[in-house]
Symmetry: C2
Subunit: 185 residues, 2 copies
């Protein structure tokens, strides 16, 4: 489902907005239904030679955790642009070859949080990191097998949908081969 | 992390609440940080003989999907009570032997959504279903292997944390044996 056309925004915050509408039940009665939307995010699987970039991040409220480069899509920003911007800001790397690997755009469990996973081929370092006051980021590198195993680490901060994709690649040889071939053709 | 003590509730809805506070950044500057909380939920792995109950649910905004019995914890209700109540309402089954399998209580990706997975041993049917106007529920049964495979079905509506637990049981023989032994001693 998407956000229903009749839904009204009852709250708008920095990241989150809340929507409500009157929903007809199976017996014809009405109930207030509620749904959350949050700003869309992008994550980038950035390939450098035969490795993938993994960030070791620290934030003011969180101890060190691994993540992909990525972040929040700005107002009106196309998600591809956001992916290119975040990769450059967080790592100093650039790629001329971005491809969308997965898009998650459905309301799930009352939450609308569009997520886009890109992969960026043949990345080259062209600048230094340019970090926000709320970011401390170390760039590290893993190989394909280490990347799949990282999906099993609960501290690895990724979309639950994408985590399932990594688990599937671990369970299913054919899916693993396909994913590997995409990242390292 | 938990919800910071200095956070202020800036919105309270039916299910969701939004919290904000001024967070000190690494350079000493302040930024408005935001966090979502949603009502806690319970899910129950209900064992009947050598099978596990799976619901086929339909809701006014959603086509049929599989889920565990479960639902939202009421105000002030202990989660064990909620688990017993939801199992009885949604299935008509009762157990005298509930055990907490997993509790997820940390803020993850700016969301505080406490989730409790119970398993209920040796369930007996003692009543008919007692459903809300917004529920159509069919009770079905799967064996242990079918249950693990269901974790791979993206339509299966469960906690992402619990989905990872099921994937781990598929990948790791020892974890699979442990989980099976817990459910079917």
């Amino acid at each position: 489902m998407k956000i229903p056309a009749e839904a009204k925004k009852v709250f708008q915050g920095v990241i989150f907005a809340v929507w409500q509408w009157q929903q007809k039940m199976f017996d014809g009665s009405l109930e207030t239904f509620e749904l959350l939307s949050r700003r869309g995010t992008v994550d980038i699987i950035a390939v450098v030679g035969n490795k993938i970039i993994i960030l070791q991040q620290e934030q003011p409220t969180k101890p060190m955790y691994p993540s992909l480069p990525g972040g929040v899509i700005a107002d009106g920003e196309p998600h591809l642009m956001a992916a290119k911007r975040e990769l450059l800001e967080e790592t100093g790397y650039k790629s001329d070859d971005f491809e969308l690997l997965a898009a998650y755009e459905k309301v799930r469990s009352k939450v609308y949080h569009p997520e886009y996973i890109y992969f960026a081929k043949d990345c080259q370092k062209i600048a230094e990191q340019s970090l926000d006051a709320g970011e401390k980021i170390k760039v590290t590198f893993v190989n394909f097998d280490e990347f799949l195993q990282l999906g099993r680490n609960e501290k690895f901060l990724i979309s639950p949908n994408f985590r399932a994709l990594l688990y599937e690649a671990l369970l299913d040889k054919e899916k693993r081969r396909e994913l590997k071939l995409k990242l390292f053709p």
